[in-house]
């Protein structure tokens, strides 16, 4: 496969102004990814600061209620800052520091990546600016407050639909404005090469841990691993170390929004087609003239019109399966897991739980499902209450 490509997907479709910056990043990453000191420092950050390894928890009550396959939860929600995002951010911030950069910029949707980036920037003494769509600033006021508390500047982006894709566009514009001292800490397995590879490698810790934890608990690999997919970073992290194990079925849950047959959806694999946007060739929700569609999901973190190029490739070769989950199904799963297991998942992660709720009852009791709970749901409580017609005040 060509450098930076996953089948036909990937590449570096970015302005010339950024080319030397991504080449510099690629060289630095090639050098540090096998550097012992770098990896020791990163592992120390994971274990001593982020709280890794995260638990692989046998969800007994969920398993019994669903009455089929055994269900395990990979608890990325227990990480510091409450989501898997910290894995990638600690890696990239450390890399930026080694490259002599003094400033991090990032986009954020739900605000989890923004909070994680602001956190890592504080920890490593870097300046931090986070771009966030104006709609998301409203939907996720708590995370905006947290970022500012952590010392980051939050820029509200009012262009386009005022959501994640516009935040990415604005972060890219800012990077073209200032590359010499600034690292763009991209939050998902998307964008131009080398980002999809770098972010995947830092998130791959999720499947590395699941593998050894499940072997310890069950003495065998799981039959299914399930994760939610927006850009796809927690999903690729969950899948990566199982890709060569053909007996493990990989399932990504996309945001179906109100319905995949409506315009109010963000299910890229199920409704999009091949295109070029945000630095990569992949699948995108778009109209017949290639205008990017204004997507919708109840989940700010999955509300993105594209998908990472490696997922597009795993879909093409049939190695992973991508299913749409509606807002309604996700909200039901959010409530189900809270009431059954005492775990409030992020609304993004609830998309993965929702699919497991359909799948588990159809399977024999000796089958094993692992669901990645990519983040915790505190940030979503107000909007889920609103979805159910209840106004709450923080």
């Amino acid at each position: 496969m060509k450098k930076g490509r996953f089948g036909v997907h990937g590449g570096q479709y970015i302005p010339e102004t950024l080319m030397n910056a991504v080449i510099e990043l690629e060289r630095a990453y090639e050098r540090f990814k096998s550097d012992k000191v770098f990896n020791d420092e990163l592992e120390a950050l994971f274990n001593e600061y982020a709280g890794r390894p995260s638990l692989l928890y046998y969800a007994r009550r969920t398993t019994e209620r669903l009455g089929g396959a055994k269900i395990y939860l990979k608890r990325e929600d227990l990480n510091h800052t409450g989501a898997h995002k910290i894995n990638n951010v600690l890696g990239q911030a450390l890399l930026a520091k080694k490259m002599g950069k003094t400033r991090l910029i990032a986009e954020t949707g739900a605000g989890q990546h923004g909070v994680a980036t602001a956190t890592a920037a504080t920890l490593m003494g870097l300046e931090c600016v986070v771009f966030m769509g104006e709609e998301d600033v409203k939907r996720q006021a708590l995370n905006v407050y947290k970022m500012r508390l952590l010392g980051a500047e939050v820029v509200s982006v009012s262009t386009g639909t005022g959501t994640l894709k516009d935040a990415v566009s604005e972060a890219m514009r800012e990077w073209t404005n200032r590359v010499s001292d600034t690292h763009y800490c991209l939050g998902s397995v998307m964008g131009p090469h080398p980002f999809p590879t770098i972010v995947r490698d830092f998130q791959a810790v999720i499947s590395r841990e699941i593998r050894s934890q499940i072997l310890l608990k069950e003495g065998r690999l799981p039959d299914y691993v399930i994760a939610c997919v927006g850009g796809g970073s927690n999903a690729i992290g969950t899948f990566y170390h199982f890709i060569d194990d053909k007996e493990v079925e990989l399932i990504g849950c996309e945001a179906g929004g109100r319905d995949v047959n409506s315009f109010e959806t963000a299910a890229t694999i199920n409704t999009g087609r091949l295109g070029i946007f945000h630095g990569m060739k992949s699948y995108f929700c778009q109209d017949e003239f290639g205008q990017i569609a204004p997507v919708y999901s109840i989940s700010a973190g999955l509300d993105y019109p594209g998908i990472g190029p490696e997922h597009a490739y795993l879909h093409d070769i049939g190695r992973a399966r991508y299913v749409p989950i509606t807002d309604d199904e996700a909200v039901n799963a959010f409530e189900f897991l809270s009431r059954t297991e005492g775990i409030i998942p992020a609304i993004e992660s609830a998309h993965a739980v929702a699919y497991a709720m359909k799948l588990a009852p159809t399977l024999e009791r000796d089958k094993i499902i692992v669901i990645t709970i990519s983040g915790r749901g505190d940030k979503d409580c107000a909007s889920i209450a609103r979805y159910r017609g209840e106004e709450i005040y923080e």
């Binding site: 570096q12 404005n177 087609r273 091949l274 945000h278 990017i292």
Partner: protein
């Protein structure tokens, strides 16, 4: 020889950029003819894109207004066919990779040739990715125009050697838009360009006043102006033609005065 090079035979070139369909395509047709009348040597026609990541706020808004008015790629091809009844200066498209790719690159480029488009500029397609587009352009006598930036450094010679039509020199870091001052060391970039290619090169990004245009023309073969023109159109809407003609005239005079 590429038809685009004709644009540089009338002294230093002035190249306006116009987003098609802002506020509507009838106005675009008038504005393009007004720019020709004002002395434009080549015109960049922008096909609007929903998420133009290389543009500053002025051209972003122009794109949004154009799309909201129902502008599509097909309607723009029709506009160009109409313009070609009387407009003879070179015309190039400036748009984003997905607009061309989703239309079908071959189908898009063939339509370009049919209606009389001489070149295509895609700011999100760097040297490394041009194989998706450049060979199809070449087969159809449409120039795939390359850009160099202030950060290109060691890449300038490689890009210049394969450049077609004219080379687009990005004056400053960041996105398109009016700037008070351009501080990039353009002389060292243009020196490398000259050592590697004989095709003309024009400077764009951030230029709005006749003084800036004159200064930039002294170190280049031409000057590209986009945001300043789209600002005029944002202000005057359907009545923009005469204001654009006047502006283009003042800019062409400033550029012409830089002839050495």
């Amino acid at each position: 020889m590429s038809k685009i090079q004709k644009a540089f035979s009338n002294g230093k070139a002035f190249i306006p950029f116009i987003t098609c369909g802002d506020p509507n395509l009838e106005t675009t047709a008038k504005v393009v003819r007004a720019a020709v009348e004002g002395g434009a040597d080549l015109i960049e026609l922008g096909i609007p894109f929903s998420d133009p990541t290389a543009e500053g706020p002025v051209i972003q808004s122009a794109n949004i207004r154009a799309l909201a008015a129902g502008t599509t790629t097909d309607k723009i091809f029709d506009l160009v066919a109409d313009l070609r009844r009387d407009v003879t200066i070179p015309l190039v498209f400036m748009t984003y990779a997905n607009v061309v790719f989703s239309y079908g690159t071959e189908r898009f480029v063939k339509r370009c040739r049919e209606v009389g488009i001489d070149g295509v500029i895609l700011p999100d397609v760097p040297f490394e990715e041009k194989a998706d587009f450049a060979p199809i352009c070449e087969q159809n006598d449409v120039d795939f125009i390359s850009l160099v930036a202030p950060t290109s450094e060691n890449r300038v010679s490689m890009i210049a050697r394969e450049a077609k039509g004219f080379l687009y020199v990005v004056s400053s870091m960041g996105v398109t838009g009016v700037r008070n001052e351009i501080t990039t060391d353009l002389a060292s970039i243009t020196e490398i360009i000259r050592a590697n290619t004989s095709i003309p090169y024009a400077i764009g990004f951030g230029i709005s006043t006749p003084e800036q245009a004159n200064k930039m023309a002294q170190t280049s073969c031409g000057v590209i102006v986009g945001s300043a023109i789209m600002k005029i159109i944002a202000k005057h809407g359907a009545e923009s033609a005469e204001y654009v003609a006047e502006y283009v005239k003042s800019m062409k005079n400033a550029v012409r005065a830089a002839n050495v």
